[in-house]
């Protein structure tokens, strides 16, 4: 018992629990911020005002949305599979939250000397972090597929099937691009990958992998959009054809969980791209200890890019999506992987 108390009051444990809580809450808040940003950016691009009534400049709109969703009636189709219908949104949300666990967002810190030894700013320092993220994201598919099946509705089923086909197709290119960076860094740990990107060439060009391997960056970012089912790859919920796709039959908090998962997945992909290609928390002008500021800046820029894409590009046709994934993205990623491998082998990049 005393051992347990000692363990619970150790600075490391408190730090770990704090970081976990902070990440958990920050992810939820980020979804709220993304919803607001999306509506404002969309409005800006369509020359409207967007939300402006609730709070100053409509800033409290996400909270109003959440309150509305909580108090809405929970509907369930009569013929739906009760257990899976309830489980699907939970699977989606859990996968979305878990995927962020091995993502580092700042340099190792002693937290102003409170900790006996520096600890990395992340929930779980796994030495196969890249693969863990990959595995957890691929679990997120089940939430969508099961939602489609359990709803017992043709639109939802088609949305779920489309989504699984799409995610399987783009996971390959995604993995190939990932392997390129892993090869360049010689490590599967995100923390080590970020650390291998510190420093500058010629004193001013940061050693980010986006400069060494821009093709891999583009492939990863594209496949990331497809993985998160965002426009122009948002087939699972193509309104004109499938009503709302896999979540057609969902309402209230269950719908909100899908929504939450979608935005958190977006943030996670942006965070992973930041760590893999944009040097994570490394950047000029800001001291290492405050590297998380750089991380947030890069993350916000990428998230804005996502919104920009959604409101600029029209949706692909489904066969175009498939042939783009299999006939262009995958071969390109494979060739890129081979070329990078040769580069690593001969020049020791």
């Amino acid at each position: 018992m005393a051992g347990l108390v000692d363990w619970l009051t150790a600075p490391q444990t408190i730090f770990f629990l704090t970081v976990t809580m902070v990440v958990f809450v920050a992810l939820q808040l980020s979804a709220a911020v993304m919803v607001y940003a999306e509506r404002k950016v969309a409005a800006f691009m369509q020359q409207r005002y967007g939300p402006y009534l609730v709070g100053p400049k409509g800033l409290l709109q996400p909270i109003a949305d959440i309150v509305k969703l909580v108090f809405k009636e929970e509907l369930k189709p009569k013929a739906a599979d009760t257990l899976l219908f309830a489980a699907a949104p939970v699977i989606s949300a859990v996968a979305a939250f878990t995927a962020f666990a091995p993502v580092p967002f700042g340099a190792s810190t002693t937290f102003f000397g409170l900790l006996p030894e520096p600890m990395p700013l992340m929930v779980a320092d796994v030495n196969v972090a890249v693969l863990v993220i990959f595995a957890v994201t691929s679990m997120g598919v089940y939430g969508i597929v099961l939602a489609g099946w359990a709803s017992n509705s043709k639109y939802a089923l088609l949305g779920g099937l489309r989504s699984s086909a799409q995610m399987i197709s783009y996971e390959l290119a995604y993995g190939m691009a990932l392997a390129t960076v892993v090869m360049l860094a010689g490590s599967l740990s995100l923390r080590e990958i970020v650390d291998s990107q510190s420093g500058y060439w010629l004193g001013f060009i940061p050693k980010w992998y986006v400069f060494i391997n821009p093709i891999s960056f583009l492939i990863f970012a594209t496949a990331g959009v497809a993985e998160t089912n965002r426009a122009p790859f948002d087939f699972p919920e193509a309104e004109q054809e499938l009503v709302a796709g896999y979540h057609t039959e969902y309402s209230s908090m269950r719908f909100a969980l899908f929504f939450l998962a979608e935005y958190i997945n977006m943030v996670t992909v942006a965070a992973v791209v930041t760590n893999l290609y944009l040097g994570g928390w490394h950047g000029p002008f800001i001291p290492e200890a405050y590297g998380w500021i750089w991380f947030l800046i890069k993350l916000s820029v990428l998230c804005f890019g996502y919104l920009w894409l959604r409101w600029t590009l029209p949706r692909f046709r489904y066969d175009q999506l498939m042939s783009f994934g299999w006939k262009l993205l995958l071969p390109l990623a494979t060739v890129n992987l081979l070329v990078s491998a040769a580069g690593v082998l001969y020049f020791g990049l």
Partner: protein, 175 residues
């Protein structure tokens, strides 16, 4: 009982229960989900054995890729619930041969399992006592491409043959 040992029993229990559920109920979708749960239990056991890479690959390949395809197929074909009630009502002597062969197989496997368990006295628990030689990914890759080169290449040829075979079987006969 240490914490690791407790975790071993939890994961092993999840794996065994999941496997039993695969064959223990009638809805094919639930069978697919149960086997995914079972894979998660196995993955936990790999983590306890200090092999995080194998654990994660188990999730990515089996729970992620392969089972999604299974689920896809089951959903697309809309496989009906299995109904064995007509066989259950029949006298054992009149049940189909497949059922009787399956029963004989089950007895045989139970005997084998009992025999194997009776000879495992000297073995430890499923928890690693010390780090095994092959733990890091780099080491794993090196071993795979040196010591187990032949087996590795033969496996990849086998998989390619299976892929080509699937394509040949699936394409329309236009010749």
């Amino acid at each position: 009982m240490g914490f690791d040992q407790l975790l071993f029993y939890v994961f092993a229990g999840v794996a065994v229960l999941g496997s039993l559920l695969v064959i223990g109920q009638k809805n094919p979708i639930y069978s697919v989900l149960a086997i995914i749960v079972s894979f998660f239990g196995l993955s936990g056991l790999y983590v306890l054995l200090e092999a995080p890479f194998v654990a994660v690959v188990q999730i990515i390949i089996y729970a992620g890729a392969i089972m999604v395809l299974f689920l896809f197929t089951v959903m697309l074909l809309n496989v009906p619930r299995e109904d064995a009630s007509e066989w259950d009502r029949a006298h054992p002597y009149y049940r189909p041969w497949a059922l009787r062969a399956g029963a004989a197989m089950a007895v045989l496997m139970a005997v084998q399992l009992g025999w194997a368990l009776s000879r495992t006295q000297g073995l430890g628990t499923g928890v690693a006592d010390e780090r095994p030689a092959v733990s890091s990914v780099a080491e794993l890759g090196r071993v795979l491409f040196t010591d187990y080169m032949f087996a590795f290449e033969v496996t990849s040829i086998l998989i390619i043959i299976a892929m080509v075979g699937a394509v040949v079987l699936a394409r329309k006969r236009e010749f």
